[in-house]
């Protein structure tokens, strides 16, 4: 049997919430939360707006005290640590924009060494080594002499991660780090975090609204349910069970397993099925187009057959199994396909709406 490593960050029977005013009764948002982040784990924190993600994060980093229970950092109670001791074990990146005036990337990252420095702020060799290591780990070593103001959003986000890493933390908490990044930067950033968690042994907790990303990358997902509970588990366990569906889906929504995201179901038209014939990507996107037009693609025999051939753009043909059939047509490009399918489905859609 392997010995379970001591959690880097642990919540034991934590109740979290806030006080509107001093001496007012506290409003409890989350009750009896048990969580454990092991070293080297990448954990995503998800949940609908207003469920208490921010409250949980603020409690876990010690920005507000838990109403009950304990937050343990490296096995020691967060409340018992001095701010400096805490800053040597726990680092954060926030969503608020940073305007440091004139500072190079190197100088900003070096601010992460403040918890280790004497009151006068002299930098020793150990500080320098930690800053160099953090710059390399976050992939911003090439930017070190550039002013922070010159950088793109993605680069700035990495610099803030490097600054946090310079604290040499056991736990790194990131509040919605990918919110302002485009898709490619987001994927790069996620890959960097995965690499970081495994190479440095830091436990990384990040909150995100990107469900697909949260499920694909995480070793563990912490799901804030909106009913005052927090569920922890492997992403597959949460997705396979109905925890995520329950937490996120409103009316007319469902969890799409293939895309690992929530989809709106209001355009689905019962009965209008189509069998898509074709190969590879053209076939996949033809199904996408059919779904967008409000049809349900199915692998089984259906009333209609959509045949698609590769090309730029792709050629398509729709045949009805009944003769005569008004849906029979062919064309080039998915735009005309969607227009055609929508035209065929219109009577049905109106039926579905009035009924």
């Amino acid at each position: 049997m392997t010995v379970e490593p001591r959690p880097a960050l642990q919540a034991v029977a934590v109740s979290a919430g806030y006080r509107r005013r001093r001496r007012h009764p506290a409003v409890t948002v989350l009750r009896d939360v048990h969580l454990a982040a092991r070293p080297g784990e990448l954990i995503t924190l998800i949940g609908p707006n207003g469920a208490g993600k921010s409250t949980l994060l603020r409690t876990l980093v010690g920005a507000q005290p838990p109403l009950a229970g304990h937050v343990l950092l490296d096995g020691r109670d967060l409340a018992a640590l001095s701010p400096r001791q805490r800053a040597r074990r726990l680092a954060v990146t926030l969503t608020e924009p940073v305007d440091v005036g004139q500072m190079t990337v190197d100088a900003v990252v070096a601010l992460g060494r403040i918890p280790y420095r004497s009151w006068i702020g002299r930098e020793n060799a150990r500080d320098r080594a930690a800053v160099d290591r953090a710059l390399l780990d976050a992939g911003v070593a090439d930017l070190r002499d550039r002013p922070l103001t010159d950088l793109s959003d993605g680069e700035r986000q990495r610099v803030m991660v490097a600054r946090a890493l310079a604290q040499e933390p056991a736990v790194l908490v990131l509040d919605e780090p990918t919110a302002f990044l485009d898709v490619a930067r987001r994927i790069e950033f996620a890959a960097m975090l995965t690499r970081l968690s495994t190479t440095t042994g830091t436990a990384i907790v990040l909150s995100t609204h990107d469900l697909a990303f949260a499920l694909r990358r995480a070793d563990q997902v912490w799901l804030v349910g909106g009913d005052g509970t927090v569920t922890a588990g492997a992403p597959e366990d949460l997705a396979c069970g109905d925890a995520i569906t329950r937490a996120f889906t409103g009316e007319n929504m469902s969890f799409d397993d293939a895309a690992a995201t929530i989809v709106v179901a209001d355009d689905e038209v019962p009965g209008a099925t189509v069998r898509v014939v074709g190969e590879g990507r053209p076939r996949q996107w033809a199904e996408h187009a059919a779904r967008r037009a409000g049809w349900t693609p199915t692998p089984d025999a259906a009333d209609h057959v959509l045949t698609v051939e590769p090309g730029t753009p792709c050629r398509w043909r729709v045949d009805g199994t009944h003769v005569p059939d008004a849906t029979r047509a062919h064309g080039i490009g998915f735009d005309s396909l969607v227009t055609h399918l929508r035209g065929c489905a219109t009577p049905l859609r109106e039926d579905a709406r009035t009924g």
């Binding site: 980093v61 954060v92 440091v100 601010l111 160099d132 390399l136 070190r144 604290q167 056991a170």
Partner: protein, 372 residues
Amino acid sequence: MSGSGTGVEEMTEDEVASRAAPGRRHRSRVGYVAGLFGLLVLLLLGVVVVLIAQGSIPIPVGEVLRILTGQDAESAVNRTIVLDARLPKVVAGLLAGAALAVGGAQMQTLFRNPLADPFVLGVSSGAILGAAIVILGTGGVGWLSGLGVVSQLGVTGAAVAGAAGVLLIALGIARRVGDPVVVLVVGVMLGYLAGAVVDMLVYYTDPDRLQALATFTRGSVRNVTWHELQVVAVSCAVVLVLSVFLAQPLNALLLGERYAGSLGVNVRRVHFLSLASVAVLSGVITAYCGAIGFVGLAAPHLARGLLRTSDHRLVLPASALIGAVIVLVAEYVAGGNGLTRTSLPLNSVTAFVGAPVILWVLLSGRARRQAR
């Protein structure tokens, strides 16, 4: 962290090279910064000597240096002029410039506002109000000169308290409003308000002093005596040295209060210490030299521009040097050169440096926001 040890061996040659490179850059940067500080010190010494040598009775530079270094002077008159007439003025100007510049640099970080400074935000006016209340309340015998040591300290304390009051109000508003330009206007209004109260107080108690007050509110280092300088020198020197310890926490505050807190910085304590030091620096200087404007605003910006960094460990001392140079040069232009019989208020000169800096900050700040 277990991984960081093994990672060093895994580094490629490129990475090793990129780690070696900053060493060279670091050395050239250190050279630049050291050279800049050297130049500033030389400039300051030069201005000090010129200001002592020139005046209604010119004294040769060699003679000035002999007197300053304690050697025998050619004439006792020269010695008296240098040590008793001109040196107090120069020391007062030097301290005033350094104190206001360091105060301004701290306020700009504290308020997260590039336009903050003791004069612009009305802190100097608050100091004058505090001083005026004590002077007039205790019988209005005179404007500092002619007061005993105890009442001198009382007036200085009242000035510091007045400065602290305006600082607290301005910071309270700044934390709620956030927009630097709004805070600026609020500060200017607070200054007008305090100034109006002072005018009313003086007018109804002792109309004859109104003229003296007018010069006082526009700044002058000329009437400070050795006797008074003791209070200024001791209090400013202590606070200036203490503010070295604030440099690192202020650096953390550049990231914002929440980030500073996450770095283990006690944000409330830093706010308190920094506010207290700004109140002492600007209060004391205002009590003895009047409200000297724009130095606290311009000097830190010039320091950051020259150093190309916002690091307070460098910006605070560089601001002090630049502030001292600005005030002394302003004093030279305002009449210390001996070319004219009369003299200008210092603010008429410092505005030439301050106003363009304010405009430059406003316009470049707007340009940067639009670029995003």
